[in-house]
């Protein structure tokens, strides 16, 4: 019976240690910097080239012109499609798009999945 219960010393040590898991919604989850989370859009920088729409692997982003006279654009992201690859951020020639560290994007309402950002 040599070599039985190899993990018992570690287990008993853990009894007095702080647990490694967290109670998630109550405690905040740790996110590393430069995480590729929800997209952020800077309206002032966008020139409406729509390159992001062309490279997006899942057709998640849409750029629409909001004003008849001026070159002002609004970005919409379909959260049910976005795969957070960040290709649009890399492609954007004016750096109008950016990944944030926000990952808590679940929604109970299907309509709200297409978001203006």
């Amino acid at each position: 019976m040599k070599g039985t219960g190899k993990m018992i010393p570690l287990m008993l040590r853990m009894l007095v240690k702080k647990p490694d898991t967290i109670l998630y919604p109550a405690q905040k989850a740790h996110v590393e910097e430069h995480f590729r989370g929800a997209l952020k859009f800077d309206q002032a920088l966008c020139i409406g080239c729509k390159l992001c729409m062309r490279v997006c692997p899942s057709a998640a982003i849409e750029i629409e012109r909001v004003s008849e006279t001026e070159k002002v654009f609004q970005a919409y992201v379909r959260m049910d499609r976005c795969i957070f690859c960040g290709q649009c951020v890399d492609t954007c020639p004016k750096k109008a798009l950016e990944n944030t560290e926000n990952f808590e994007l679940a929604s109970t309402d299907k309509e709200s999945l297409r978001k203006a950002i």
Partner: protein, 404 residues
């Protein structure tokens, strides 16, 4: 007791993904077993043809949630070979680093699953706790925990700075200490050895005959590793050993995997220490010249093969993926026949199966008549047009979005 047939899957707690195994039981012993594939066909190869080369990286990365870097690397290697691009040295080193960290995370995940399959929850919990360290590291280096999005055609997308290098080295030290502990547990704890030793035997000749790959093959005593046999990225410049074992059973596969983790730490250290300076990517035009190429990559589960054919446009004409699980599946029935029912989950888990990566077709069987239907592309299109026509929608004039 009479022999009875029991289904293991397509829905079963031992399997993470649907796959159907039918076992003929003689008491607790398995008299015969059959495997039925085809519950997870996702049509990815076809989908690749309607997307650009860049978009395909992200699609193919999602073939597998665990060896995502392997699939995307394998694919970009093939595309780079067609386009005749030499990637910068630094990019090759970075790909190697991510690839090895992925191997660590995949093998730790496997060790945890193995613990779960043999009913050892504690091993599962501890190993997965420490796997989080690798996941956090990958998140810090690439921005994502699972589908890293590190590769692009012509190089990598993110660079690593000196503080990140320090963090990698620090995390590797902790991981190495913990992994040595798990090696000790796995090779000395009698209740684990009792469940793993002599289970799922696959002798060397059978492993070669049935075309097993990766840790399964290496545990049968065959030295085969794409990193040595057909070096890619930076592997030709690195010093590491190919781990083999002669147990030829599940214990052997465990030993190969845990020692491979240690080799990966060694490789990661060499990579971050010898990282050359320079650009991380070269510019590649969107249109790839006509040609074809195939590339091999040692994924954590074994040899991963991608074949790409181009036609001069910005979309590939054909992409074919051979996931390592397909090669290993053939040996499963060999391994479980004659064994105990209790050992089936761990034997299946021991090839580290990834059924969704493997499936390339779907089989439709009418549950009442037992009739099977198989369609080719044109037939499937015709079937759907007829189906809608019966319901009052005429789609026959609609142009197909892709070539027939």
């Amino acid at each position: 007791m009479a022999k009875m047939m029991i289904p293991l899957g397509p829905q079963h707690p031992a399997l993470e993904e649907p796959e159907s195994f039918s076992l003929l039981l003689d008491g607790e012993r398995i008299a015969a077993a059959t495997v039925a594939l085809g519950y997870n066909h996702r049509g990815m190869e076809k989908a690749c043809e309607s997307r650009t080369y860049i978009q395909d990286i992200y699609l193919l990365e999602r073939i597998c949630g665990i060896c995502s870097h392997s699939h995307s690397s394998s694919y970009v290697q093939a595309v780079e070979a067609i386009a005749g691009i030499e990637i910068p040295k630094r990019a090759a080193y970075l790909r190697t680093l991510i690839g090895e960290l992925e191997r660590v995370h995949s093998h730790l995940l496997w060790l945890g699953i193995a613990g779960h399959e043999i009913g050892f929850q504690t091993l599962f919990m501890f190993v997965w706790r420490d796997r989080e360290l690798v996941m956090d590291l990958l998140e810090r280096l690439t921005g994502n925990r699972v589908n890293y999005g590190m590769n692009t055609i012509g190089g990598v997308r993110r660079d690593i700075d000196s503080t990140q290098t320090e963090e990698v080295l620090k995390a590797l030290d902790i991981l190495e200490a913990r992994t040595s502990y798990y090696i000790k547990v796995c090779t000395e704890e009698q209740s684990i050895i009792g469940r793993l030793a002599g289970v799922g035997k696959l002798p060397r000749e059978d492993a070669l005959r049935l075309g097993a790959v990766g840790p399964v093959l290496r545990a049968s005593g065959v030295r085969r590793d794409m990193r040595k046999d057909d070096p890619y990225d930076a592997y030709s410049e690195l010093d590491f050993n190919v781990i083999t074992d002669d147990h030829a059973d599940v214990l052997g596969r465990t030993v190969v995997r845990v020692f491979e983790i240690m080799e990966s730490y060694k490789i990661c250290r060499q990579v971050v220490r010898n990282m050359p300076d320079g650009p991380i990517a070269v510019k590649v035009p969107a249109k790839i010249p006509t040609g074809e190429a195939f590339s091999r990559y040692e994924a954590p589960r074994g040899e991963d093969i991608h074949y790409v054919r181009s036609n001069g446009t910005d979309r590939p004409e054909r992409v074919k993926v051979r996931a390592p699980t397909l090669a290993n599946l053939a040996s499963i029935t060999n391994m479980i026949e004659g064994g105990y029912l209790a050992d089936v989950p761990i034997v299946i888990a021991a090839i580290d199966p990834c059924f969704s990566c493997t499936d390339r077709m779907i089989r439709v069987q009418d549950s009442r008549s037992g009739r099977e239907d198989r369609y080719d592309w044109a037939g499937l299109r015709q079937y759907s047009i007829d189906w809608y026509k019966k319901r009052g929608v005429d789609l026959s004039q609609t142009k197909a979005a892709w070539k027939d």
